[in-house]
Subunit: 203 residues, 2 copies
Amino acid sequence: MGDDSPSRRVRADAERSTARILEAAEAVLAVDSTASLERIADAAGLARATVHRRFATRAALLEALAEQLSGRYLLGLAEARVKTAPPLVALHRVTEFVLGLRSDHRFALQLTEARTPEVLDGLDTLFARLRDTGAVTAAEPAWSRRVYLALLCEVYELPADSAALGPGAAADETAAKADLLVRTTLGALGGSHDTAALSPSGR
Amino acid sequence: MGDDSPSRRVRADAERSTARILEAAEAVLAVDSTASLERIADAAGLARATVHRRFATRAALLEALAEQLSGRYLLGLAEARVKTAPPLVALHRVTEFVLGLRSDHRFALQLTEARTPEVLDGLDTLFARLRDTGAVTAAEPAWSRRVYLALLCEVYELPADSAALGPGAAADETAAKADLLVRTTLGALGGSHDTAALSPSGR
DNA sequence: GACAAATGAAACAAGGGTGACTCACTTCTG
DNA sequence: CAGAAGTGAGTCACCCTTGTTTCATTTGTC
């Protein structure tokens, strides 16, 4: 799916343009999901015609964007060893990974096509394992996943100096947010509050 | 603000039209917030011209819609005695009231103008009182409010037969959802899990 | 029943977004 | 350096939405 036959070469700056378009699209659409292609092109520092050359239609651009976002999430799930690592550890790792992304998650999660079945399945198996461990009371993984994602958006948009993050949050914002999100999610889902065993000494 | 001078009479069917427009707008815009006025008019069973007669511009319609929604929330807060009743009871009452509304809350909460300062303040004082009671650990009412509203959307969209609602949910769906939401919120915010004292025998 | 209010249908102009195309120009790559 | 790939700027047609207006018709209300 990557390189073609040697006959047709893809120039380096063309790929750079594509990346810049996707980047700009994510930033602009996060603010206003109805923004015109021209505004996206401006944000990317390119002409609108160039956007059309990369992505034939607006829908194609959105699709590519969704695919990219889904890919990032999948990578995070894989790196966290969602299926094998101790579920609490995996949850923490996924959370830190996702919060570390520059994506605007409220936008990303609204993008229907970004919620790939694979991503959802990954989270669901994680929450199923958390339930089997007893870390979570909620029976339905799908429900747990929804709660987690909803809280993810709220935590993500939390200002860095919020008191909700606890003391010393400025030191490592992402870690503090991950702690808060894990704690809040487990509490919401009726877990036994043993999260202290996770955050303290280790890192 | 209701009746005018006797000189100008507002016919009954006109008010009915206005109500139908707002109703249809809420339903249609909840699905697609960029839906055209024509689709709203169709859903209301009226001509687009009539919509324009009631609301000069699209913005005016949205504003009226937001005002209506905000009014409903304010009514719920008032009826729950947010400022005087025992906070846990008030929280439960607000929740039941809001879940009983036919509004699509995910849409309503996205509608910026519907989040009136009054509504936000009402919730914030409620969560401040919950914190003072010890029912909630989270220090910042604003954070508690955000968590509550985020979970509200998820609970609201939960299918009636979801296992997350627990046994016997079909009996009174709204009550079951309210229980779930209160329990989940208090858990998320680190409350002492004494919610059993609320739901069982009373109602 | 009479009068005024309200509506439906239709046409209209204005504005904006999308997508396709051309052509001159710049920038990579071999 | 030479040719090909990529880009910018401009134009064009098309469609959809918004907002306005007109006129015949229906519907409340007194």
